[in-house]
Amino acid sequence: MEQESSIIDEKIIHFYLNEELKKENITDWKIDYYHTKQNNIYIEQNFKTESILKSERKEYLITVYKSFESKIGTSTFILNDSSTIKELKEEIQDAVFISSVSLSEKYILPKVEDESVKDDHIDYSIFYNQKVHDNFDIYDFEAFLNEKFNILKDEIETNNDEKVKLKINYVEFFNSAGFHKLTTSSGINKSSKNNSTYLEFVITATDINKNEEKEHIIYEEISDLLEFNFYDFFKKHLKYAKDTITAQNALDFKGPVILTGFAGPDFFIPTIGDLNPFILFASAKLKFMQISDYQINQKVLNTKKDHLTIYSNPFISKNSASVPYDDLGISAQKICIINDSVFKNHISSKQYADYINVLPSGPLGVIEVSSGSKNEDDMYNDNEDKIEIVSFSSFDPDSTSGDFSSEIRLGYRIKNGIRIPFKGGLFVGNVFKIIEEMYLSKEQINIPGYCGPRTIKFNKGKIVGL
């Protein structure tokens, strides 16, 4: 018998949870084990390293369930690799009580023999880069970054001229490797690996004659570090940075607005918060709460030009939003959410699938949007004045109304074929209304969380200037 001061492990947790099952104090349990490593590098001006932070977390997220006739109670608590048996026992006692008062409408937890749990169709190797993940402890991220800095320094030199000088203000380079294991009292036992990179940096462009500075901020999530094209990435952003120095203040505008660069994907997967509301409304939870009125096989989006076809695709290789199973172990599947602006399937956990009587969809994956009818060139090659937005400070539509009012970090006014950069101003509107007159490009982009048209054109956009 282990002492109360002994440190817990998976076996010990199983033992004590099963004791509660035997006593019928709970009816089910699940354990999510997370083991995450991080290697973070922080660089300030002149490529000077400010800090290197390495970390490791080993945590257990333990959930107990208690089923009643028409209700189900849940309680979740967290322990880690320093927690003792005494702490585990105390938390289980609390959880037993909480699960008798923390109640929801009843739903049936999945079992290992359920069709929706089977995962023979899933190739688990697509979710991570083995070379980086399995060698994480010895991988020299600092050397890797320095190598990329050499590319960046060369590109900066190429772009600098007598009028404009570019410099890097800071860089944050975060790498993580994770392992997750899910076990449940019904016998579900799944595990997966993942890894990702986050890169954040700021380029400042200085107008030498005016002694004026403007900055260009980049936040980039990188799914596959070894495949990522740093050269093209730096080249594109140095150009944007240079354009900020000549950027004027935004003026009021009504007419065609094109989203591209960062801004295109932002429209579907906003930088902060949830998805675009017209995708969010596919959620079974929102349907059940009567916030969404989507009906299957009904046209839900009033698109008059290009129609929208949207999938949730959890199988895009090495995309960090691709996942093999959801939090209850339901296996991933590719789901058509909207087809030609007609609603087809909810995204639903087991809980809400039971509530609205549909099959559970598995986890939300990469938002995959089908190409539109126009080439990018066709979107620009007309004589109309138009606005092109390449990045927002944050695109964050209201998750229920769809209203948005987003500050433009960098855009271009295109008049008589001439592109004039601008900054500031607000792109305003409502996501449900603006898509009525929308074209999507044929050209696609594949980034973490999104695989779809690179460029979107709204015929009736509105900019509020400064």
């Binding site: 932070l53 080993k58 880690n80 409408e105 900055e215 709460m289 209201d398 109304s401 500031g424």
Partner: protein
């Protein structure tokens, strides 16, 4: 644990001090209990975040290691690895610098007065349930409500060779959120209150009339038809957001080191009228940004970011103090033990003035009283103001009239807005609080609030 955390830290900093390196150590044990209910679910969740971070200065940069494993032998091995790396780095460092550390010895323990208070689950669940039902009955167009109470307890130990400190901070946050169907889609109104004890739930109970009034206003609210320049009065919440989001981020010294803060050109210069001051002060009991000392062992102190209209010294951490030669401030914070320290605000607000809110209204011939918003975004380089999802009421000929707008943004160039502040109210409140990020990450708890402000001209759109 065989050794206490304090004992472990003491042994570890003796090792690093013997080797001649500065090192500091943080232990965080954060626990939260959240009870949340809406029409469908009652959820009671416990969350926890526990671990340590060790940090060593090699003469040029910090070498940091963070972990959930709290074991002396394991941590000793890790600190020796950091020392080894630091030793190897000595050959490569060209400009070695010594950190500007406060070497005054301090050994202190602090505890919030209500740290030991425990929530009676049964009684609080019943109370929240009653509140939820009352909220549901406030209006026929309500589609859902959510009531929430969250009790957080944070135990923090800091140590270096000069300081051994600990603090226990507790906080209770309550919220009532109402979602209603309007002509313009689903909208949300809410109330949030924060204090250090459970009786704060009574504030939510006492806010039903206000919520009902907000619901009526929201149902009437329409988009702001004409974008442009307006005379505005900002509510305490909004003035807090202006102080924090629009001004404060530009006064974080690490942002200045990174060459990203326009504020550096304004230090010592007049930016506003003399009735305008902005303060950052962590030690306000019961407020969301509260702490006794920061993550570098600096005792909480009040800092004037703007004093009588003049831009003062920025807030800082050890690294930025060293680089910029600044004085002390207690603003080094991290989101969690496995995150880097950054210079962060705490409770940031305009100092209260002497005018009355009622008199301010009378001074406005045509303007908007902006009383709520979804949030804001910082722009320290450009000092652009971006506050989004605003909710406001029209003022005409010195009176608030029955006209409401929502979903608009407040924007402009911060120095222009600051110089246009003409009145600062004596009415002052800091209620609620959210999280502040550096960009889109590194979330720390901060409060929002302050006085009402009358501003001659801002851009709304």
């Amino acid at each position: 644990m065989e050794n206490s955390v304090e004992e472990i830290f003491q042994k570890l900093y003796c090792i690093t001090a013997q080797k001649g390196y500065y090192a500091d150590f943080n232990f965080i044990d954060f626990n939260a209990l959240t009870i949340s209910m809406d029409k469908i679910n009652t959820q009671i969740n416990k969350s926890k975040d526990k671990g340590i971070k060790m940090r060593l200065w090699d003469g040029e940069k910090f070498l940091e290691y963070a972990n959930t494993t709290i074991d002396y032998d394991f941590l000793k091995q890790k600190i020796l690895e950091l020392i080894q790396t630091a030793d190897e780095n000595q050959k490569l460092i060209k400009d070695k610098s010594e950190l500007k550390i406060d070497r005054k010895n301090l050994s202190k323990k602090f505890s919030s007065s209500c740290f030991k208070e425990e929530i009676n689950l049964k009684s609080i669940t019943n109370k929240l349930d009653n509140i939820k039902n009352e909220l549901l009955n406030l209006d026929k167009d309500i589609v859902n409500v959510r009531t929430l109470i969250r009790q957080k307890k944070e135990y923090h130990i800091f140590a270096n060779q000069y300081r051994q400190m600990s603090q226990q901070i507790s906080e209770v946050l309550v919220a009532g959120i109402v979602m209603l169907k309007t002509e313009n889609g689903i909208k949300t109104v809410y109330k949030v209150f924060v204090d250090n004890n459970i009786s704060v739930i009574d504030k939510l109970t006492n806010s039903f009339d206000e919520l009902k009034s907000d619901i009526i206003k929201m149902k009437k609210a329409k988009p702001l038809e004409n974008a442009g320049k307006y005379k505005v009065i900002l509510s305490p919440k909004m003035s807090g957001l202006l102080a924090h989001e629009s001004f404060g981020h530009g006064m974080e010294a690490d942002t200045i080191i990174r060459g990203r803060a326009l504020a550096v050109e304004w230090i010592g210069k007049k930016i506003a009228n003399s009735n305008v001051s902005i303060i950052d002060f962590p030690l306000i009991e019961g407020k969301h940004g509260m702490f006794y000392f920061d993550n570098e062992g600096n005792m909480a102190e009040k800092v004037y970011l703007v004093k009588n209209g003049i831009v003062n010294e920025p807030i800082s951490d050890i690294y930025s103090k060293t680089k910029l030669g600044l004085n002390s401030s207690s603003n080094s914070r991290f989101e969690s033990f496995d995150h880097k320290n950054y210079v962060r605000m705490s409770n940031t607000y305009f100092e209260k003035g002497s005018d009355s809110f009622a008199d301010m209204i009378k001074k406005v011939d045509d303007g908007i009283f902006v009383f709520d918003c979804a949030g804001g975004m910082e722009d320290p380089k450009g000092w652009g103001v971006q506050i989004q999802g605003c909710f406001g009421q029209r003022i005409k000929q010195g009176e608030l009239i029955d006209e409401y707008y929502d979903g608009f943004s407040l924007t402009g160039f911060l120095p222009d807005i600051m110089k246009n502040i003409t009145s600062v109210s004596k009415e002052f409140e800091i209620e609620g609080g959210g999280s502040c990020g550096k960009g889109h990450k590194e979330w720390v708890r901060v409060s929002e609030g302050g006085p009402y402000l009358l501003i001659n001209e801002v851009i709304l759109g």
